[in-house]
């Protein structure tokens, strides 16, 4: 944020007094009001705002739920039922929170795929991107531990399967698992510590989100053309232009969210989670929440336990390496005819992996999961590095304004420091 000298001028005496001691208003002004936004952003760029809304919604509903929830193996299930029946609007809080997790992941997946399509991870946005990956990992940990809290059958057995994965780690595996469990099996200590961590992690996410936004405001936003802001004509101030567009998109997203909460509240969950946890009875199929299914499919595609765990975590690690695996100098897939096709193949592979993750690991499903897993890694480790060398990109437009307004031109904003730092391409 130091990048852009603030144009904020405090007016009142108090504002002047405060600003000279803590330049908070100037920081907010330069970050969310005067911040130059490329004028060609599509609705795919509104998911950042939607994600902030979802994080806030999850924290607010979660804090309220925590006031009524009891993290004890014998009481948790009934306390959730009490929330559903006896707490005023408890059913609403719980359905908002449970479906909110799914909405959060829908938004984050669209955000990530948008990033991959438009090459937003490329220089100078690598750190911004890595912070995003950290948020994604924290989100997965939070969601996994949250799903354990109702202490239903899927909670218990999901926790058992996932925590057991760590036993594949050589030498210290069993120690890690005991540490996670707080004992020698998933039980009350596990539930208790998962509750504590489930309450903690969202605030860590919020902290990394602040860094993510900070990094964004240093390097500026990428855009569908993938070219930097060159003049004032290319940009518009964040407020009111991006603000109003983000608000509109968030309201539309809330409508989608409401549809699930009010009319399909249990569709994204699993019926077995309405059966209290029972260590003596294993469900027919242990299935994680939908947003973990692609990773679950990768885990099961490898016939070796340690290999499966490595592949699953590798699937996320490889995502973090994308800025250095992609050799193309052109960012946006709009100007990369080959990459664009590979991108959509990759999207289809991810969706297929999700579908396969929900299927029993047998017969044709295993073979399909192996092919898709192989392609997942080939896409990142082979296709991305090679494409940059062999692909002939289409000619890039000379400016952002040209892609939007043609050659006619239009009003923009005076941008001096608005242009992104030109380190490379």
């Amino acid at each position: 944020m130091s990048q852009h000298a603030t144009t904020y001028v405090p007016k009142s005496r108090f504002a002047k007094w405060f600003e000279s001691r803590l330049p908070l208003a100037g920081l907010v002004h330069s970050s969310f009001i005067a911040f130059p936004v490329p004028r060609n952003l599509t609705y795919f760029w509104t998911f950042g705002a939607i994600l902030i809304f979802m994080l806030a919604a999850q924290i607010v509903t979660g804090v309220w739920l925590a006031m009524h929830y009891v993290p004890h193996a014998n009481l948790a299930f009934d306390s959730v039922e009490a929330i559903m029946r006896d707490v005023n609007y408890g059913w609403l809080l719980r359905y908002l929170h449970a479906n909110g997790a799914s909405m959060f992941f829908i938004a984050v997946y669209i955000h990530i795929f948008r990033n991959l399509y438009y090459g937003s991870y490329k220089a100078p946005r690598e750190v911004l991107y890595l912070l995003g990956i950290i948020i994604f990992i924290l989100m997965m940990a939070t969601a996994f531990m949250g799903y354990v809290l109702p202490w239903g059958q899927m909670s218990f057995w999901g926790a058992t399967v996932i925590t057991n994965l760590f036993s594949a780690v050589p030498v210290v595996g069993d120690t890690i698992v005991s540490l996670l469990w707080g004992g020698y099996s998933v039980g009350n200590p596990t539930l208790n510590r998962f509750f504590a961590l489930h309450y903690l992690l969202p605030f860590m996410i919020a902290g990394v989100v602040v860094l993510h936004i900070w990094a964004l405001h240093v390097v500026g936003q990428n855009n569908p053309a993938g070219i930097p802001i060159k003049s004032g004509k290319d940009a518009v101030p964040f407020t009111p232009y991006a603000t109003v567009k983000d608000l509109f998109a968030t309201v539309v997203f809330m409508m989608f969210f409401a549809w699930w909460v009010f009319f399909l509240p249990n569709y994204l969950g699993h019926a077995d989670n309405y059966i209290p946890a029972n260590p003596a009875v294993t469900p027919a199929h242990i299935v994680p929440e939908w947003y973990f299914l692609p990773f679950y499919a990768i885990l099961r595609a490898i016939p070796d336990k340690l290999g499966g765990v490595i592949a699953m975590f590798g699937a996320i690690v490889v995502l973090a390496l994308v800025p250095w695996l992609d050799t193309s100098r052109v960012r946006s897939a709009n100007y990369r005819p080959l990459y664009r096709q590979f991108f959509w193949v990759f999207v289809i592979v991810c969706v297929l992996l999700g579908w396969l993750g929900a299927k029993p690991p047998e017969g044709g499903y295993v073979i399909a999961a192996r092919i898709c897993t192989a392609w997942y890694f080939i896409h990142f480790l082979v296709v991305l590095p090679l494409l940059g060398l062999f692909e002939t990109p289409k000619p890039l437009p000379s400016s952002i304004a040209e892609t939007v307004l043609g050659k006619k031109g239009g009003a923009g904003m005076p941008v001096g420091a608005a242009a992104e730092p030109s380190t490379r391409g």
Partner: protein
């Protein structure tokens, strides 16, 4: 290009998450036939008379083995069977409830009150298991949400589309199970203690056929006859509806509120769209070649 991508992405997203609605159904078990329910759909509400009949079926048949962990008072609550408070008080008083310890330190029995939970048929899970061939009959209060079945592709996408949506897997399964007792097909051996059921995963269920025609007497109409047939088919439907209410007592409130929320958001987003359009018109709009005439705002 972008619109097409957006549509595609949305379709794919819906496809992925819908894949989560997986519920176990053993191979070869037919899916329960879809019933028509008053509580289905956007404007669904429970049929009070049906819930009251369903409670009677529970009380006279299921209660022998299955616990229903809900307080009596909820039977008088809005959005449920809505028995009168006097009826619920009288009903609760028919049960003996253990209370205590009293001043002398002893547990004692007293007549139930509306605030009490309906007492379980067995003192504990082990007793329930011992009396039922080694496995305790499941409690029924959330059973309508704890049972379901997988409809498979492409239905898991169709089932989330507004006005085609399908959430009544649980009640359909309960109805199918209770009407699904039949003679096993030739060559199918039912192990001792088991019973053949067409819709139970794996077909062998420990619970014997609990219902028969005429078993439960329904309240009579003015002509001296029950307005609905006293058949297994009707009992199953009424019980399934009742159990849907016990599982989701706020269903009516939820759907009513949901309709208002979505109408509000629809109007709000409609207005927001035009606000956004007007704001962006100042800089020539977002669309390609849109003319820019209005002057810049103060921040520009």
């Amino acid at each position: 290009m972008n619109t097409r991508h957006a549509l595609l992405a949305a379709a794919l997203a819906v496809g992925t998450l819908a894949g989560a609605a997986t519920v176990q159904a053993a191979e070869g078990t037919p899916n329960p036939p879809r019933q028509s329910w008053t509580f289905a759909g956007v404007f669904g509400t429970f049929d009070r008379a049906q819930l009251q009949r369903g409670f009677k079926v529970y009380r006279e048949v299921c209660q022998a083995c299955h616990q229903l962990k809900i307080p009596f008072r909820t039977l008088a609550q809005n959005g449920g069977p809505q028995f009168s408070v006097a009826q619920v008080t009288a009903l609760a008083a028919e049960y003996k409830v253990q209370d205590g310890p009293n001043d002398a330190g002893e547990m004692f029995e007293r007549p139930g009150r509306p605030a009490d939970f309906i007492p379980p048929p067995f003192p504990n899970e082990n007793a329930a298991a011992a009396a039922n061939g080694g496995k305790a009959p499941p409690p029924l209060q959330v059973i309508a949400k704890a049972r379901g079945f997988e409809r498979g592709f492409p239905w898991f996408i169709v089932d989330v589309i507004p006005f085609l949506q399908y959430q009544e897997h649980g009640p359909d399964y309960i109805h199918a199970l209770l009407t699904g007792y039949e003679e096993p097909p030739a060559g199918f051996t039912v192990p001792p203690g088991g019973h053949y059921n067409k819709y139970f995963p794996g077909h062998v269920i420990a619970m014997p056929n609990p219902l028969s025609d005429g078993q439960v007497e329904y309240p009579k109409g003015p002509d001296g006859r029950s307005p609905v047939p006293e058949t297994v088919e009707q009992y199953s439907k009424d019980l399934a509806a009742f159990l849907m209410w016990t599982a989701e007592p706020a269903l009516e409130q939820r759907k009513r509120m949901g309709f208002m929320v979505i109408i509000f958001l629809a109007v709000f987003s409609y207005l927001m769209y035009y606000v956004k359009k007007k704001v962006w018109a100042q800089v020539g709009g977002e669309a390609e070649g849109a003319p820019g005439t209005a002057p810049l705002g103060p921040t520009g």
